[in-house]
């Protein structure tokens, strides 16, 4: 079951920047692209755990700040020679507000 919750405005994230959403399982990185699309992926590189929210965005990819692994924001898949992936989360943008399906990261809430 979907459980969409308003987590903030698109404007709260500068263009090409990212912010984190804290969850009981760790942080989720929420990215705003140059064209105002919003993506959410786990804020943890599968290589050495680097915080992806701190990387540099280019096109719709993010480069990990620790060892330059590159991930596709749409799919969470590593690009280039590296293999691995990060979990992606569903985002809806309505009227400039960002909605996340909390049931994807807080099972307890959905069960209530």
């Amino acid at each position: 079951m979907n459980d969409f919750v308003d987590i903030g405005a698109v404007e709260d994230i500068p263009v090409r920047a990212a912010r984190v959403v804290k969850t009981p399982q760790g942080c989720i990185a929420v990215f705003r692209t140059a064209t105002n699309k919003v993506y959410a992926i786990d804020d943890k590189c599968p290589h050495k755990g680097g915080p992806l929210s701190n990387g540099i965005q280019h096109d719709e990819s993010i480069t990990c700040p620790l060892h330059n692994w590159v991930f596709d924001l749409n799919t969470g898949q590593a690009k280039g020679a590296d293999e691995g992936s990060v979990k992606t989360y569903t985002i809806k943008v309505t009227d400039g507000r960002i909605l996340m399906d909390t049931s994807e990261f807080i099972p307890e809430m959905a069960a209530e």
Binding site: V5, I7, G8, D12, I13, P14, V15, R16, A17, R19, V20, V21, K22, T23, P24, C27, V30, T33, A34, T35, N36, K37, K48, G49, G50, P51, N54, G55, I56, Q57, H58, D59, E60, S61, T63, P65, L66, N68, D72, L73, N74, T75, K79, T94, D95, I98, M100, T102, F105, I106, E108, M109
Partner: protein
């Protein structure tokens, strides 16, 4: 007997609806038309040509009073509908009550007036109808009248261009980073801005209106950043909102707009709605083409049809004479999307197609939009373009198209453009040498001396020679900055200056970048080159910086950060040490380490705690040590003549002076200094980027050392006799390196390329040039000597970095 149809609103959608009804069954309905505006339907999208004086109101009337009379449409213009009674099926205005069998709401939209102080002053207006245009035209009569347009979207820019045409002094304020960001990408937005600025329209992007100033009429507009623009009129063009009040009062289903089904019916089966006031499948509509489709669907359904409205792809064009732009479809980037980009810097042309699975899904064009319709058709038809792909961007006449010319930017340079700064060789000099018989790059270099000194203009020289010699010349392979460009680092740096490129999108457009927004290699380099070239003018792009420089601390392997306060020349005090110890306690710093550069490093700090610990350190008088920067790091010193029995000069004092003069500067790579008080060299000055060894007779200035992946001993740049000379030469050398070296090259790499003799010539032997270099350095420093910690700890800069967007971590625990 004819049914009674009442329509509220005489706009473009309802005008088209009436035409459909009359064409298909003129006797089906008795039509009554209410309109709050005191006139009938006119072509609202042509208001801009009326404003600019290219058309008159009469030219744009679509339905005259005579037309309504001939077609038996009863009209009540200038009468806003005040109440609707759903049970009695009546509509009431100030002086008429009319019964209906079917009711159509076509109230359109209302301009969004941004809620700032002063919004109600006389002289503040929207840009929506003929009355607004008349108010603007009246304001143009005053001599030297000034207008501020709030909103750099389609309508705002049309208003700005029209007002300029009428002789007003016009400033456009726009909150986004580039104009028309909903229709254009940054590159096309840049070209549009250039065109408008050429017409003397001032553009202020990222301009947030704080207040409109004035007593009883508007005098000026104040921005959040403190800028004030004088204004006789202020035109609000910050977007529109569906006009839904009457539907809300009735209790119809209203979200952002009046919700209609596919047949344009509202939640009341006898009430319908069309145009900008509706919401259909979560979408609002502001352009005319879908409104006409809605009118056609409703016209058919009111006559017993069963049509459904299904929106199709539409395009946008700006109605400003001379600004050719076109935008259609979805032009966002995406990993499952490819793009084809064509840039012609000479003609100011930019075209970008976005392709997904061999189908064009979006197109943005500027400068040459002739093929827009052809691309739009392909978007609508979802045509597979794989066969056409190679020549697609050249449009339907691809046979006459030519591939993008990598020499275009150089070809566009004027003859007096400087190519080789060292030897004062212009583009014209090189072409003259070729005309005089030089038939190869080497011959040109021998004759003109171009690119024979520091060599950084080698790529440019070769390109000018190629232009002069024509097809026979083969350009030698040069190392390009990255896969996004055909230019080398050196070429890009020179063209930034000679073409006065002042933003990253400017560079990418003018130098024909092959990607829309660059990559992790070129963006940080371009950002630095602009920081260096245009101090005080360029606005640093944090998103083009590596995280350490964005948050002013060093990221560690576990995602925590290290914080290093500056200790001038390695000198500290008990108070500073106490403050550092207190901070270490307060923030549970797991590791406190003394660095190689004579500083104290606090390791393992959570990102969220950074502003707080900086605040505490600032309070104790300390600033960022910039231990993370591609910029000035530390000046390491020995105790010198103050205490040491061998010390020849005050090495600590000179180190502190150097650090005070040079801190805060950005450079191609990190820059470390040391000052030793005697040749015993306790400060290890001979492996620094710049080291000074004090001797009895003065100061040896040593450069080009390294103790990293490469180990290099410094070489002597010069020996000087006074502290003042040592300081001037150090700053001049640093500036020469800052202006000339490729991004991520330490000085030793740069010196290996340009030669130490050339460096000496520039900053030792040529005294004038040394002073000029030092002067440019000190000028730049007036902008960059700002403590980045204080800006963030006390002034809230980039606050988004240090707090989560949302926190659900405690929700589950409750």
């Amino acid at each position: 007997m004819a049914q009674k149809l009442v329509i509220i609103g005489a706009g473009m959608a309802s005008g088209r609806l009436i035409e459909h009804l009359l064409d298909n069954d003129p006797n089906a309905y008795d039509i009554t038309l209410f309109n709050a505006e005191p006139r009938g339907n006119y072509n609202r999208i042509m208001l801009s040509p009326v404003l600019s004086g290219e058309k008159t109101y009469e030219d744009i009337i679509t339905h005259s009073d005579d037309w309504y009379a001939e077609n038996n449409v009863t009209t009540y213009f200038g009468e806003a509908v005040t109440t609707i009674d759903q049970d009695a099926k009546t509509v009431t205005s100030k002086s008429h009550t009319v019964t209906y069998d079917k009711l159509v709401i076509a109230t359109g939209s209302a301009p969004f007036i941004i809620p700032v102080p002063g919004k109600d002053l006389s002289g503040v207006m929207a840009y929506r109808d003929l009355d607004d245009v008349n108010k603007m035209l009246a304001a143009c009569d005053k001599k030297n009248a000034k207008a501020v347009v709030i909103g750099g979207g389609l309508l705002g820019l049309e208003a700005a261009a029209g007002l300029k045409e009428q002789g007003m002094d016009v400033t456009v304020l726009h909150i986004a980073g580039h104009l028309m960001e909903r229709q254009l990408d940054p590159a096309a937005g840049h070209l549009l801005r250039k065109e408008l600025e050429n017409r003397d329209i001032k553009i202020h992007t990222e301009g947030f209106t704080k207040a409109i100033l004035g007593e009883d009429k508007v005098d000026a507009v104040l921005l959040e950043d403190g800028t004030i623009y004088e204004a006789d009129i202020v035109v609000m063009s910050a977007g529109i909102r569906p006009e839904t009040r009457i539907a809300t009062d009735l209790g119809l289903h209203v979200e952002r707009g009046i919700v209609v089904d596919d047949g344009m019916q509202t939640s009341d089966p006898n009430i319908f709605a069309v145009g900008e006031c509706i919401e259909h499948q979560d979408q609002l509509y502001g352009l005319v083409a879908p409104l006409y489709d809605q009118a056609k669907v409703l016209g058919a359904n009111l006559l017993g049809g069963d049509e459904i409205f299904s929106p199709v792809e539409i395009s946008t064009k700006l109605k400003v004479t001379g600004c050719d732009l076109f935008s259609a479809g979805d032009f966002a980037e995406g990993s499952d999307r490819e793009e084809i980009v064509f840039r012609d810097a000479v003609r100011g042309v930019y075209k970008r197609l976005i392709i997904q699975k061999n189908i064009i899904i979006g197109a943005v064009m500027y400068g040459d939009t002739a093929d827009g319709g052809w691309f739009l058709q392909k978007i609508k038809d979802r045509e597979d373009i794989s066969e056409l792909r190679d020549t697609l961007i050249f449009g339907p006449n691809f046979a006459s198209g030519a591939p993008s010319d990598p020499l275009a930017a150089v070809a566009a340079l004027p003859l007096d453009a400087e190519i080789c700064g060292c030897n004062g060789v212009s583009k014209g000099d090189i072409l003259a040498a070729i005309e005089g018989g030089a038939d190869s790059l080497d011959a040109v270099k021998m004759l003109t001396k171009a690119s024979t000194s520091c060599g950084t203009c080698a790529g440019l020289t070769a390109q000018v020679v190629q232009i002069g010699l024509g097809d026979d010349f083969v350009l030698p392979e040069a190392d390009t900055i990255c896969k996004c460009s055909d230019y080398s680092h050196d070429d890009v740096r020179k063209l930034i200056i000679s073409k006065e490129l002042k933003t990253i999108p400017d560079i990418m457009q003018e130098l024909q970048w092959k990607t829309s927004c660059g990559c992790i290699t070129c963006r940080p380099a371009l950002n630095y080159y602009l920081v260096c070239a245009w101090p005080g003018e360029y606005v640093d792009d944090g998103q083009s910086r590596y995280i350490n420089e964005r948050v002013h601390a060093n990221i560690q392997k576990d995602g925590t950060y290290s914080v290093v306060p500056r200790m001038w020349g390695g000198i500290t005090t008990p108070d500073e040490l106490r403050a550092i110890a207190d901070a270490a306690d307060k923030y549970n710093v797991p590791t406190v380490k003394v660095t190689g550069g004579q500083r104290i490093d606090l390791l393992g700090i959570e990102k969220e705690d950074l502003p707080a610990i900086w605040y505490d350190l600032n309070e104790a008088g300390m600033v960022s040590g910039q231990a993370y920067a591609k910029g000035l790091r530390t000046v390491k010193t020995c105790v010198g003549s103050d205490h040491c029995r061998f010390g020849t000069q005050d090495s600590t004092g000179l180190g502190i002076q150097l650090e005070k003069a040079m801190w805060g500067a950005w450079s191609p790579h990190k820059f470390k200094l040391a000052v030793s008080g005697c040749p015993r060299n306790c400060a290890e000055a001979t492996c620094k980027d710049l080291g000074i060894i004090c001797v009895d007779s003065g100061y040896q200035i040593l450069v080009g050392g390294a103790a990293g992946m490469d180990l290099r001993e410094t070489e002597l740049l010069a020996q000087v006799t006074t502290e003042e000379e040592a300081l001037e030469l150090a700053c001049a050398f640093y500036q020469l390196y800052r202006e000339g070296a490729q991004y991520l090259h330490r000085p030793y790499k740069w010196i290996a390329k340009v030669g130490l003799d050339w460096v000496k010539g520039q900053c030792v032997e040529d005294v004038e040039n040394r002073k000029a270099l030092a002067g440019r350095f000190h000028y730049s420093q007036t902008f960059y000597q700002v403590d980045p910690w204080a800006e963030r700890a006390s002034k809230g800069k980039d606050a988004y970095e240090y707090s989560p967007l949302a926190d659900f971590s405690k929700v589950a625990a409750e």
